[in-house]
């Protein structure tokens, strides 16, 4: 075990993968030479270590970056490409959704596309709505793509290694605000299986589902609630596709209550899917309405006062939980 920041954990996973397998290469805008000189940045130092053949800085061409990954993976390489921020993934959605997610199917299973796309998410860095916009719900609604969204350094490493060596296209969303936060990270080729959620906190009164950065908000809320003797069970999904339905349903069957939390906007957000699954498959166990705590249905505003207002916080979660406890 080592104490690593989230960014270092990602870096460690990339380093190990490249070291273990010659077919792994990195590409993206600034994955080699970055404007940041910071060991907490995921690809820091890898250009120096593996050289420009395997660490490829690209032009500002998101469709080509994604296309490169699709084409190279079809030839048997394991591309790990980066799209800088989630809103820019819109420029790559044709390549990801119509190609990465469908070409194996279209080939009748003849070809595989073992590619990984890393992309940064984040509200709260005052960059405004063209840099901050959580679109995980889009990717989760796209057949053939796996979607991963870790909340801890340990999971960031373990899930990324699993993603890179998974035979399918995997989108790994990294919450930028977490890069500098530290945690224990197992050494070596440590993998967290895709499709397994994590009980971040066991509890009995209410299930609280979240993922990515929002998990930290959930934990904050749990602390507040525990002072009032309210015990919530936090599920950190870790992987959105494939979803760990069992973990979700078992928890709700036990607690009888569900709150879903995410930083993305509410309407049509991923929380809706969680709510819908439970309303379909654990309805009989539900003692109260399902609450969603999410951002309002607006673009992310710039001004600090407004950006703070946008991002769901622990108090909102506390209120939601209390509102469904009689």
């Amino acid at each position: 075990m080592a104490q690593l920041s989230f960014g270092q954990a990602v870096n460690n996973a990339l380093d190990l993968a490249m070291n273990m397998d010659e077919s792994v290469f990195l590409a993206g805008e600034g994955v080699g030479i970055s404007i940041h000189y910071d060991p907490n940045m995921p690809s820091h130092g890898l250009l120096g270590k593996y050289g420009p053949k395997r660490v490829k800085d690209t032009p500002v061409s998101e469709a080509a970056i994604a296309g490169l990954a699709v084409g190279a993976s079809c030839m048997g390489l394991r591309p790990v490409v980066e799209i800088m921020f989630l809103p820019f993934i819109t420029l790559a959605t044709d390549m990801l959704v119509n190609h990465a997610g469908k070409l194996q199917y279209l080939s009748g299973g003849k070809s595989t596309f073992p590619l990984t796309v890393r992309v940064k998410a984040g509200v709260n860095f005052a960059a405004g709505c063209q840099h901050s916009h959580n679109l995980e719900a889009w990717l989760a609604h796209s057949p053939g793509l796996k979607v991963v969204f870790p909340s801890t350094p340990e999971d960031a490493k373990g899930l990324l290694l699993s993603a890179i060596f998974d035979p399918n296209p995997v989108i790994v969303i990294e919450e930028m605000g977490l890069y500098w936060g530290k945690g224990e990270v197992p050494e070596g080729d440590y993998r967290v299986p895709l499709g397994k959620a994590r009980i971040a906190l066991p509890g009995k009164d209410c299930t609280l589902v979240s993922y990515g950065g929002a998990t930290h908000t959930a934990i904050e809320a749990a602390k507040i609630l525990s002072k009032e003797n309210i015990s919530i069970e936090i599920i950190d999904l870790r992987t959105l596709v494939p979803l760990d339905r069992d973990c979700l349903l078992n928890s709700v069957k036990k607690t009888g209550r569900l709150v879903v939390l995410h930083d993305a906007t509410k309407f049509g957000g991923f929380g809706a899917e969680i709510a819908a699954i439970v309303a379909e498959d654990a309805f009989e166990f539900l003692k109260a309405p399902i609450k969603r705590v999410a951002a309002p249905d607006i673009p992310v505003p710039f001004s600090p006062t407004q950006e703070k207002f946008y991002k769901p916080n622990a108090d909102m979660v506390v209120d939601a939980v209390k509102s469904i406890l009689n």
Binding site: A64, V70, G71, K110, N168
Partner: protein, 322 residues
């Protein structure tokens, strides 16, 4: 390979062009016999010399990436007509188990690696394939076929810039068939010759008569050589004509009949035939034998497709995940 097609190669190319033509003519009949074939059929009638001339200049290990108008490319690359036809018919024995149909046929076993019906999507995919070839120091190249209409897509530009920058072994082949759907070349493209776009990326761009298979072959050979030597990508614009509608549901109400007649006279198959006869490369008997043999291949393909079962409905759930 010889820099100019010799008579053996000319005959081979002729045979391949006839196969494509007959294969697709049979599809026209199947479309007309309602219910024999699902979906819209997009044919390369009139454009056979581009597919054959280019692919004849490649090695078997070279990769191609194709688009919606792919039958010619795939047959030229050596795909089995039986399994191709079965796929077009939506049968379980199809090259893609009936999941693709005519529009995205991929035949990786002959290095027809990927086909996309999203216009303009081929070039970035092909850049990825060419990158893999370069990464592994393979002596192979990738060829991507795209239309004149596709040249307007941003993805093509991104792929050209990337390929030129990284000197990828990638041959861009723009099949300019004068149409993008119902839009004529002049209605959708701002530059006189797409080949000129090579200048914008510092890569060679050459224009060729796409109805002259000999010329296409010769140019493809030199351009492929250029890519193979690690000099970077190259661009060929092959000017040809889409003799039928965009798809078989398009009755060309917007096409000038005189233009169609003009191009009909330039049929790549007929002109090659006449040339070979004139030069004494083939006899009428040999031509007849080619025709007979080809028709048999096509008949066998259709019979194979007909005899094949549709995939089970539930098998639709397979092949999403590896």
């Amino acid at each position: 390979m010889e820099p100019q097609a010799n008579s053996v190669r000319l005959k081979t190319m002729y045979e391949k062009m006839v196969l494509i033509r007959k294969f697709e003519e049979r599809i026209i009949e199947l479309v007309q016999e309602q219910g024999r074939i699902p979906g819209m059929q997009i044919l390369a009638n009139g454009q056979e010399a581009v597919a054959v001339g280019i692919i004849e200049a490649l090695k078997a290990e070279d990769v191609i990436v194709s688009n919606h108008r792919s039958h010619g490319h795939l047959l030229a690359k050596g795909a089995d007509p039986k399994h191709l036809m079965a796929e077009i018919m939506g049968k379980a024995t199809g090259v893609n188990k009936g999941k693709s149909g005519t529009l995205h046929l991929a035949v990786p076993e002959v290095n027809a690696l990927m086909t996309s019906t999203v216009v303009g999507a081929g070039p970035p995919l092909a850049a990825g394939a060419a990158f893999a070839q370069q990464y592994r120091n393979e002596p192979n190249i990738t060829v991507v076929f795209f239309g004149d209409g596709a040249a307007a897509e941003g993805s093509v530009h991104e792929a050209m810039n990337l390929a030129a920058l990284w000197k990828l072994p990638l041959l861009f082949v723009c099949e300019n068939n004068c149409w993008a759907g119902a839009q004529s070349y002049a209605q959708h493209c701002s530059v006189g010759e797409i080949a000129q776009r090579g200048i914008a990326y510092g890569m060679p761009g050459e224009f060729v008569d796409g109805n002259d298979v000999k010329k296409v072959y010769a140019l493809a050979l030199s351009m492929a050589e250029y890519c193979r030597e690690g000099k970077g990508p190259a661009l060929i614009e092959a000017k040809t004509y889409r003799m039928r509608g965009h798809g078989e549901n398009d009755h060309q109400h917007y096409v000038d009949k005189a233009e169609l007649e003009y191009w009909a006279k330039k049929c790549p198959i007929r002109s090659l035939k006449e040339k070979m006869l004139k030069d004494g490369i083939v006899t009428e008997n040999e031509l007849q034998a080619i025709e007979t043999k080809t028709l048999a291949i096509v008949a066998e393909a259709v019979a194979f497709g007909d005899a094949s079962p549709f995939p089970l409905a539930k098998e639709a759930l397979n092949d999403v995940w590896a």
